[in-house]
């Protein structure tokens, strides 16, 4: 019945659409998810190193407290908070809330603000308390 190719319009490619906030939310949700898997490797490293012994743990600690390690941890917390807030939005949408465009846009703005605020607050508390939380 549908063996011959159809001439129905195909979905145009990404760049012809006007960019919307919800597009950024969706893409960032996936991107932060992938980043979280990379960040998870830091936790895996910490656990395996700590279980392996003091020398291995100190090697991990050297990396985690280096500039690169601290930047990775900073990015990891940012990705955690973004994915968390955005994930809660997804759960609310599954439950039938936040489905209109104005609601989605408002939720998106709240997600950005809350995840940035939580990231800065976490590192602020960490740095100002000198690590003694």
């Amino acid at each position: 019945m549908s063996s011959k190719p159809t001439n129905r319009p195909l979905s145009p490619h990404l760049q012809v659409w006007k960019w919307t906030l919800t597009m950024s939310l969706s893409i960032l949700h996936r991107a932060s998810g992938v980043a979280l898997v990379l960040g998870l490797m830091m936790i895996v490293w910490m656990l395996i190193a700590a279980a392996s012994g003091q020398t291995a743990y100190e090697c991990f600690l050297w990396f985690a407290t280096s500039i690169v390690g601290q930047l990775m941890l900073f990015g990891w917390t940012g990705a955690v908070y973004y994915h968390l807030c955005s994930g809660i939005r997804h759960l609310l949408m599954d439950a039938g809330y936040l489905l209109t465009i104005p609601q989605a846009e408002r939720a998106g703005k709240i997600i950005f603000i809350v995840s940035i605020a939580l990231t800065l607050a976490t590192w602020g508390v960490l740095k100002f308390s000198g690590g003694e939380i």
């Binding site: 159809t6 129905r8 998870l40 895996v44 395996i48 279980a51 003091q54 968390l84 809660i88």
Partner: protein, 135 residues
């Protein structure tokens, strides 16, 4: 779309198969449900994990501090729950991303298998490490 769904338009598909709507994979909905259930579990677990990693790794906690941390059953139990829930959620999420963007069937299958095996191995390794630290 029409080319992928040729089978749907033929009379060879039984009404029962059409009603079940499962397709040749015979599954799909459970994937979404498991993603959502682990997402719910992850909300408290991840917040706890951020706090723990911040107090341990980010501040350069000593070897004895880490051992002492996991000697507490509450910390070990929460870390195990975090690892299992997060690794499962990650495996489900990465699977969807690969299925969406990798179109070459061979590379797709290879990456799906590689990602699942790698995540499973890393999960077992970290669970074992927590148990070794705790016990």
């Amino acid at each position: 779309m029409s080319q992928d769904n040729k089978w749907e338009d033929t009379p060879f598909k039984s009404p029962m198969a059409r009603a079940r709507g499962l397709g040749s994979a015979h599954s799909g909905v459970h994937h979404w449900i498991h993603t959502k259930i682990t997402a719910l579990a992850n909300i408290p677990l991840v917040l706890w994990a951020v706090w723990s990693v911040m107090t341990l790794a980010a501040t350069g906690a000593s070897y004895d501090t880490v051992r002492g941390f996991f000697a507490q059953p509450v910390n070990s139990i929460l870390m195990l729950l975090f690892l299992i829930s997060v690794f499962y959620h990650a495996a489900l999420g990465l699977q969807v991303i690969i299925e969406d963007y990798v179109h070459c069937e061979k590379i797709k299958m290879m990456s799906l298998i590689a990602v699942k095996l790698a995540l499973f191995a890393l999960c077992v390794a970290s669970v074992f490490s927590v148990l070794k630290l705790a016990l």
